[in-house]
Amino acid sequence: MIRLIVNKLLQMLFTLWVILTVLFFLFRLGLPDPTVALVTDGLSPEDRALVTERFGLDRSLPMQYVVYLGNVATGEFGRSFHYNAPVTAIVAERVANTLVLMIPAFLISYIVGPLLGVLLAWKRGSRLEAGGITAGLVFRSAPMFWVGMLLIMLFGIRLGWFPTSGMRTFPYEAAHFFDKIFTLNFLHHLILPTIVISLYYTGLPMLIMRNAMLEVMGEDFIEFAEARGLSKARIMYRHAARNALLPVVTQAAITAGLAVGGQVVVEVVFSWPGLGLEMFNAVRTSDYPLAQAAFMLMAAIILVLNFAADVVYGRLDPRVSYSSEGAGG
């Protein structure tokens, strides 16, 4: 177990290094003059010299690369052009905002989805099953940003039930992050975007769970449980579901990666001050250091989530090998 975790951890660091390298060369490819990416206009000569020195811009490309890796390792991403402040401080808060929206939505999807999937398998051949499958596919097909727009239009503007943008109603005072989120006002803001994300992601675990359940239900131990006279609900949710959960966990790891990227549109639609919105704005204002850091952090979040899924997976199935499920992307 420990060996497995260490192994996965090393793999994660390796992947992170590859991504950092790709990003470094991508930026050099797109911006042959790296000072453009790090030095904003109107910087004093002293500051310019400081940035040049800190990022090794006066040295050769391989040396720049080494300096870049060192800077990333120590959390030095430069200064944001737009905010004129250290990037690290800006993104730190945004990451928290992103996670506080993503994690609840993701948990809802991967708790409700499999439970519904069991129900669909249980009610096999019924109208409920057909309706559930269709609904799952339809919600997966509707782009999240569009559903967000519709919900804002209906519940935010027409009915006025929910706020339509941001995390809190302005103006507000919060001494620190938890002070900000442990309020009813925050929950009120959280509801609509959470619904949007959950609607989109619930369909897949539901369908995968249903398929896996149908496979498991044909096996001997289920028949044995039935012969023992256990109740149908108990068989379904205790015996069959536990054994059908593996592909869902695999999918959770993959979806976590997709969700970090998909989160961007939701944050844009709801003006949620997270990492995605920050990156979106950074791209529009050509704020290179901020965009770079935001991207790295998103990749890092995916890696950590994948790592967590791997560990869970290892606990569930000692054989640990990736099976393939049609995720679409």
């Binding site: 950074a282 290179y288 991207f295």
Partner: protein, 580 residues
């Protein structure tokens, strides 16, 4: 080459038979599944829409559609009320015919009359555009293009033979029956009441410029305004040019008495007549002013384009906020009630769905239905090209990793893992940040990143195929790995690859819409995502549901159709699933 002739002579036949069988299976699977049938129908319809988009679109999706409509605006103090659609086309002029009774004339020879309760059309023999109307004590005269002159006597309009061939822009009638009409190239026509209504006498004007309006106080006192600041005085017989303080076009003039008058024109120009002199005055507006009406020497109303209106009260000009952006053409006022007519073509912004615009219009009057129709091309094209790229890369990676195994497999699967760690939308954003938004960025981002799933699925299929007897036989016969992969294994994963193509296409359509929605798509090419992007940028999406719903429904329909069909195909492509 000679050795392979024998084999290839047999293979195509066998493969052909197998293909036909697979095809039959496909058709049956789709037919049995109602959702899949629905999906196929929708996909075919969408492809047809994309193919015939130029024929199906009712408008050019880039053109801001304009609307022309005769409008009246009532102003009572600070209360503004609009009556739209009282005439089919622009109304150019309005004149009062006593209290609560008005005439308005406009394009296409149209005249409408307000009788105290509503605007009613009045029959006229004219077909030319009528530019001005003047009414005094029950008699009206209206003039227009190509020398059109109409008299209203006894409730009916009568056309008199055109006294000139040029367009007439202005007319003024006095209570004695004397009248002046002005028009193109310095044309001035004078009517002496003693000579009958048809006998117009041309007057020699000191300028050749277009004359736009005339105001007569009496038969021997009046002023004419025209292009480039032209100001002419009429003394009953002759015209005399007076010093003008401006070089801008003057569009309208009003005379209250011999000591008070106003003229208005281009760029908010306001001229005031005082003590025998015209002087420029600072108004409250900066765009073109079209008409001026005087109630008293210091109570003046002015209207202009884009819904502009201002009034002079107690010696200062103040803007009247009408809340409309239509172009106003003329104004008349009795102090309490002010009537404004006009509406040149105006941009038909945020119109609700109608016969004319099935899905309504955008904030700058573009037809949303046509945008959605044209957008289907981009969506399907980008979806298909990106999906093809994904399938080609993914299938090849899967084939090599699955067949060669060992180190190759390890390296390739490590790359797949790395791909899974790159978030698509942010990756596309980085590309746009470094280069420029465009269709290629979207295809590139989707194509380079999302082959990971296809690769994994094909690989696991290849792993199970590689141990099958026919592969072993080929290896024993000395076939090269490349040959085995492409000749023997690839045909067997082809159905699965096609299924992945379908799934990848659904994903690519969503991805294209998402990236275009974020503004990372081509700026001058419509796609469903771009339409929603523009709706978001305009801010109008919060209320303009007709702008938001249609493109989203089409994205959803196309994606869900692919899902429906691919579910039915899964059974064939992956026989493992059939027992479920």
């Amino acid at each position: 080459m000679a050795g392979s002739t024998h084999v290839s002579a047999i293979l195509p036949k066998e493969q052909g038979a197998e293909m036909r069988e697979t095809l039959m299976l496909l058709v049956r699977a789709v037919k049995q599944d109602r959702l899949a049938t629905f999906g196929i129908v929708v996909i075919v319809v969408l492809v047809l829409i994309a193919a015939f988009a130029p024929l199906l679109a009712t408008h050019d999706p880039y053109v801001m559609t304009e609307r022309v409509e005769g409008t009246a605006l009532w102003v009572h103090g600070d209360r503004v009320e609009i009556e739209a659609g009282i005439a089919a086309d622009t109304l150019y002029s309005v004149s009062a015919d006593g209290p609560d009774s008005y005439f308005a004339a406009g394009a296409g020879g149209e005249v409408v009359r307000y009788d105290g309760t509503e605007w009613l059309p009045v029959e006229t023999p004219a077909t030319e555009t009528l530019r001005a109307i003047s009414t005094v004590e029950g008699r009206s005269i209206t003039v227009g293009h190509n020398g059109t002159v109409l008299w209203l006597t006894g409730g009916e309009f009568e056309q008199v033979p055109a006294p000139t061939e040029v367009d007439l822009f202005g007319v003024s009638l006095t209570d004695t029956g004397a009248a002046l009409a002005v028009g193109q190239n310095g044309t001035v026509l004078h009517l002496d009441p003693e000579n009958g209504v048809e006998d117009w006498e041309p007057l020699q004007a000191p300028v050749q410029r277009d004359l736009f309006a005339v105001a007569l106080l009496r038969a021997d006192y009046g002023y004419i305004v025209g292009a480039r600041g032209t100001l002419l005085r009429f003394d009953g017989e002759q015209l005399e040019e007076v010093d003008s303080p401006t070089f801008r076009d003057l569009h309208n003039i009003a005379i209250f008495d011999e000591s008070a008058g106003y003229a208005v024109g281009e760029r908010g120009t306001v001229l005031r007549y005082r003590e025998g002199e015209w002087i420029e005055e600072q108004g409250a507006l900066t765009r073109t002013l079209r008409a001026v009406a005087m109630v008293s020497a210091d109570q003046v109303q002015v209207v202009g384009t884009h819904g502009d209106m201002m009034r002079r009260v107690d010696g200062t000009w103040e803007q009247v906020r009408t809340g409309y952006t239509r172009h106003f053409r003329d104004v008349t006022s009795d102090g309490e009630t002010t009537v404004v007519v006009g509406t040149d073509p105006y941009i038909n912004s945020l119109a609700r769905p109608s016969q004319e615009h099935y899905f309504g219009t955008t904030h700058n009057g573009r037809d949303i239905y046509s945008q959605v129709i044209h957008g289907s091309r981009t969506a399907l094209l980008v979806g298909f090209v990106a999906a093809l790229m994904v399938t080609v890369i993914g299938t090849n990676v899967g084939l090599f990793a699955g067949y060669l195994r060992g180190r190759t497999d390890n390296v390739l699967m490590r790359i797949v893992d790395i791909m899974y760690a790159l978030p698509l939308e942010p990756f596309a954003m980085v590309l746009v940040l470094l280069w420029r938004p465009g269709i290629h960025i979207i295809i590139l981002a989707v194509g380079l990143l999302t082959w990971r799933t296809t690769a994994r699925i094909i690989r696991s299929q290849v792993l199970s195929l590689a141990d099958r007897p026919f592969v072993k036989a080929a290896r024993v016969a000395g076939a090269s790995p490349l040959r085995i992969i492409y000749k023997h294994i690839a045909p067997n994963v082809l159905p699965l690859a096609f299924l992945q193509l379908a799934v990848a296409m659904a994903f690519a359509i969503t991805a294209e819409a998402t990236l275009s929605f974020l503004g990372l798509g081509p700026p001058r090419l419509y796609s469903w995502g771009t339409i929603l992007h523009q709706a978001r940028l305009s801010g109008a999406w919060r209320t303009a549901w007709w702008w938001v719903i249609p493109p989203g429904v089409l994205i959803m329909l196309s994606v869900v159709s692919v899902f429906f069909v691919s579910r039915a195909l899964e059974v064939i492509a992956n026989p493992r699933l059939s027992r479920r």
